[in-house]
Assembly symmetry: C2
Homo-oligomer: 714 residues x 2
């Protein structure tokens, strides 16, 4: 047992001892459940920044609070006033954001037929845009008071006077303007990029004509209806993206000469503060060579490659350039080039001025700078791999100061000047606290504390800890939940809830122990629940993550089996009744575990599972697996179809019939193979659902999964 150490244990206490038999239902525990809203930790007030003004609000009213004395506050706007401002359209106070326009902060709110900007005093509308039902990706430019937006595949501008200009013009089929490209990979979450002074609009143009139509079918129509999507699969033709820049003055569009091969990836578009240049983190299709290229906005010519990053596995740029306020020649760049995500201060000639952070931990998020560009603010997991704290880093001295203190996962919001921070955080014991941090004074004051919404219930014991990975060296973290009303003399059936894929971290010191509602439900029913972040998951550095390269599922499964060994060592775990459940990558992992270790795992439920990586999309698929042509043996050994004959236990596969992420073909092809080799999985479909079951179906889904374990594992 010496390899296992328990980090901490937290027991939820029943506040009301008379209500011990009160059971949480899936309606309480699952998003989409009728009573689920009752169980998210709530504070009386929420906060956001309006410049350096601290805005406090609830659903009825909005106040300006004094930052240094938040108890003192001034009523700012009521819901009735807001309702009048939006002509009685539906709009709530919590939807107001604040935008700096002409040196002042305006309240921005999108009602059903318009986008409205309320003046700084919040008593009148300063200007408004009409919006149509099919407008999407509405992007407002404060500098020129124009919105850009898309309708279907086209990109338009709309002025406050209502004038509309079509930027995309040609409107060919399969050419998409102004939308997210490369399927949200590489940190891409927009296709519209206003220039800093509002003179230009940069936008993605995506040509999908070379990508095969992938047929999805809507069975809710009177006669089932085809819904084609463009889904480029690993190894097949990918879409071709370019970046156009529209000049507000000339009305002309210049395309950046990003050249060939055209199926490269144009990521992290960043404007130069001067508006003369634009930067693109360009990645080759193989995703092992990135160039940070600088283009002339006027000519579209590439004027410089600031620097390059290469890897024998993959380079994955995920953040744009963060220019220093008031210093148009310096920016902060995030890179994992040393193995962990850290900050680098560069100038626009591409000269590295300074590495700002280093160590065997990762910067999680850049929150911003102070107004004088003296400091950058971040969150990182330096103190503990399963926590995020906020830090200040001095750009000159490199001095790092911890700002948040309480253990847990912190989500701070920086004020405009960088003098203050609101800090939302939780940990295993704390449902939700909101603090105000006065950064220069290092003073933390409590703004709000949420009440434990589970106080009337007996909750299971949840503990977090770590074991050694299959390499016998690396610490990997787990969450362990004992059944409610645990009896140490009993042996319990045990379910591993797994995800295990890149860009994930399931075990975190947040509330309540980062547990999912379904796990509490199953603990109530008398199961032990266990989750483990195997190697291959996030926030532990590149080596930890990329050990899985070209062989997804193998090392991850080996680590999960260390988890099984740990479970077997626990006196209250019935080693003959260990099951596994996961969704998406977790469905893939569930299938791996069931088929690679059929004598250890008795029951599995694999949702939306990847079965064969050749059916997955290019961007994600080729990053981790290379293409099927480059890595045939890797695709073979990770293809669940090749292991279908190993199935011994009960395996339920579940899929949404309109899944556009892990297409239905995955699980259906697996059924086909099992039928061929004579094994007997079970199956279920959520018609009309996509990759994740949402709404009321999600409640049904979790009951369905629970019943499957009750049938075969209990």
């Amino acid at each position: 047992m010496k390899n296992y150490f328990s980090l901490f244990i937290f027991m939820f206490c029943a506040m009301n001892t008379f209500a011990q038999e009160k059971q949480l239902t899936l309606e309480d525990l699952i998003p989409g459940g009728k009573t689920h809203h009752r169980f998210s930790p709530k504070t009386d007030y929420s906060f956001r920044w309006k410049g350096d003004d601290l805005i406090q609000y609830n659903l009825d009213s909005m106040w300006i609070a004094e930052v240094r004395n938040p108890g003192k506050k001034k009523l700012f706007l009521t819901k009735e006033e807001l309702r009048t401002l939006v002509d009685n359209e539906k709009a709530n106070l919590d939807q107001i954001s604040f935008t700096l326009i002409d040196g002042k902060y305006y309240g921005r709110i999108a009602a059903s037929s318009k986008l409205i900007f309320i003046n700084p005093e919040m008593n009148d509308i300063s200007f408004a845009f009409q919006t149509e039902k099919n407008d999407r990706n509405i992007s407002f430019c404060p500098e020129n008071k124009t919105t850009a937006f898309t309708v279907d595949n086209n990109l338009y501008l709309r002025s406050t006077t209502g004038e509309v200009i079509n930027i995309s013009r040609d409107e060919k089929p399969n050419i998409v303007y102004g939308q997210i490209v490369h399927r949200n990979e590489f940190g891409i979450n927009s296709g519209i990029f206003w220039s800093p002074k509002g003179n230009f609009l940069a936008f993605y143009r995506m040509d999908e004509s070379m990508v095969t139509d992938y047929p999805l079918v809507d069975i809710s129509a009177r006669e089932a209806k085809l819904k084609n999507i463009k889904y480029p699969m690993a190894g097949n033709a990918g879409h071709e993206v370019t970046l156009g820049i529209y000049s507000m003055q000339s009305g002309n569009t210049v395309y950046m000469k990003t050249g060939e091969p055209k199926d490269h990836y144009l990521t992290n578009v960043s404007w130069d503060p001067t508006e003369k240049y634009i930067y693109i983190a360009e990645l080759n299709r193989e995703q092992n060579h990135m160039q940070l290229n600088k283009y002339s906005v006027e000519t579209g010519e590439k004027t410089a490659t600031l620097f390059e990053e290469k890897s024998d596995k993959y380079v994955e740029p995920q953040n744009p350039l963060f220019f220093l306020p008031g210093n148009p020649e310096q920016f902060v760049w995030q890179s994992r080039r040393t193995g962990y995500n850290h900050l680098y201060l560069y100038n626009t000639l591409g000269t590295l001025i300074k590495q700002l952070s280093s160590g065997n931990w990762e910067v999680n998020k850049v929150l911003g700078f102070d107004a004088e560009s003296k400091n950058v603010y971040i969150t990182s997991n330096e103190l503990n791999p399963i926590e995020f704290q906020s830090f200040q880093i001095n750009l000159q001295s490199g001095k790092k100061t911890q700002l948040s203190k309480a253990p847990g996962v912190h989500s701070p919001q920086l004020s405009a000047s960088g003098k203050y921070m609101t800090d939302y955080y939780s940990n295993r014991e704390t449902p939700k606290n909101v603090d105000l941090i006065d950064i220069s004074k290092g003073k933390i004051s409590r703004l709000q504390t949420a009440v434990n919404p589970y106080s009337d219930y007996t909750l299971p014991e949840i503990s977090l800890g770590s074991i050694k990975a299959a390499d016998k060296e690396t610490d990997i973290y787990y969450r362990l939940i004992k059944p409610t009303h645990f009896d140490s003399t009993k042996k319990y059936p045990t379910i591993i809830y797994v995800y295990g894929g890149p860009h994930s971290q399931m075990v975190l010191n947040n509330w309540p122990g980062s547990v999912r509602g379904w796990e509490i439900y199953m603990a109530q029913k008398g199961y032990v629940l266990f989750s483990l972040d195997n190697r291959g998951t996030s926030n532990r550095g590149l080596e930890f993550e990329s050990i899985t390269h070209r062989q997804l599922g193998l090392e991850e499964t080996a680590d999960q089996m260390e988890g099984v060994k740990f479970l077997e060592s626990l006196p209250y775990v019935d080693a003959d009744r260990i099951g596994v459940h996961g969704w998406s990558y977790g469905g893939f992992m569930t299938t791996n575990l069931m088929l690679r270790h059929p004598d250890k795992l008795k029951v599995g439920v694999a949702g939306g599972p990847v079965i064969d990586w050749k059916y997955y999309e290019i961007m994600y698929g080729e990053r981790y697996m290379d293409s099927p042509e480059e890595n045939p043996e890797g695709y073979e050994k990770t293809n669940m179809n090749n292991l279908a004959g190993n199935l011994k236990g009960r395996l339920l596969l579940i899929h949404g019939d309109e899944d556009p992420i892990v297409v239905w073909q995955h699980s259906l092809s697996f059924l086909k193979t099992c039928i061929k080799v004579g094994t007997y999985p079970d199956y279920f479909v959520y018609p009309g659902q996509e990759h994740n079951m949402v709404g009321r179906d999600r409640v049904h889904l979790h009951e369905k999964i629970a019943r499957y374990f009750d049938d075969y594992l209990k």
Copy 2:
């Protein structure tokens, strides 16, 4: 118990008492299983007619046997000779059929690249047609020695010299020539009709452009691929069919002026022996009014309506006109106008000459006439609703003579002159006998007897009997199978195998008690099996069948519940463990039973089930249900989605993902409803399969079904 009487009981006897523990596997019992071929009753020789010559054959040789002394036979053709004749292409002796050409019978055989006619002496090829890979529906005309065939949607002629003529010419998309129309309903099994003397070719032309594309998806492709079909649903636009007649002499095509509304049904196309006229049994879309219309081949004008048939439920013409040999002015028509299928002798003026058969029983099949047109030969179930015997009916006197004698189900083949009949038959005790009937002498002689292929196994006791239907009057027939090694002191789980839809009869006195292999498998596992032909099924008359009109599933379910009552009365049936399984209409019935009687039926397996008749096709759907607009309340009360909330027991639904008959939408929409109302069916998919699972998948399917009952009913 007085309502129940047992017709007969038959016990399979173990021939080898030492082999009692030898178990039949699904590989033995299910078509598609590796050893299934071993268990079909086999005779040493088979027989077919070459005119009045009795041809005897096995896989090695073919003989001409003397009809009056079949032991005396002359070698005719060997497989080596055949192989030489077909240039070593694949061809077997049992594929040879005999065609009358120029007064002699030629052997016809289709090899992989050609259609060959072997001369009457069977020693040389007389003529041959090249065939291409995509040729379909090849139809040879002996009179002009030309084949008609289709490729994709088009219709062609090919002469022995290889010349090809395109008859369809326009080749528009969605216009289909020469193929089956109206989805095989109304007895339609061809789209090509050569005229008696070979001067004309009649063919269906089907315009499907107004029918919605229905999307099926092939997931076995590298990227899932769309496979649209045309599937007109009840109440929606149907395809429009016309009948063209191509003149071999002029090369012109004349379309029969069948007029409007164009979505009527052109059924049972029959040539007049003179070739001057063609008859079409035309049915309105409502299917309650049939006209037997006569058209001029030359002009396409309708020259007469011979007679009409109407019904307040439906008229269902299923057989063309049978013209009397040597009498071009008289034909036999089959009709259920009196409530049972009987024969009527008409002349071509539409005058009814005589009703040839009558009574509360049904003519099953018209076998043909004798050469002098004195007698017509039929099979019918006059003697017993679950048997078919052959009869001779004198056209003049109406005298009916029973030809076959042994109890059971007879499938006779008449010789050219009508003097002889080979009679293949089986009953519960007789795996397969082949008799020769010398009709004029009434002499029956045994040609072959098959050995019981199950002789090494202990088979369950199978009995057939009848109970009263829910109307307390009508006799309905059942099959009951006791578990192998039955112990009368035990209580057994029981499974109802159900179909229950029109055009079906499951309980027949054939071998082995009309039982399916899966039933034997389940009896071996210790289940009681039960099947019942409820009202609504075939061969019992129109009232028996059409009680279900506009309300499919209701009366059928009521009758099946009489079966449940009967089962509950049996001391060895465990009334708490009754399950049900069926496919297609039987899947619909299974779902009905599970949802309408959730306290009686514990476990169900519904394969390819109809769930909501509005998703079913026009022809079948509107015949029995009228359209959704005409019968909204009927569609509502038969829609399983409306009962989804009743589900209490375990219900497994199974579907082929390329089902073009009961489209996938049925079972998927049911899942969607169950999810919505919070019930929990189970599900399985056979990818790449259509309406019925075929090949090896069929074995897997039956094991899957068996395991489901083992999990939840045993």
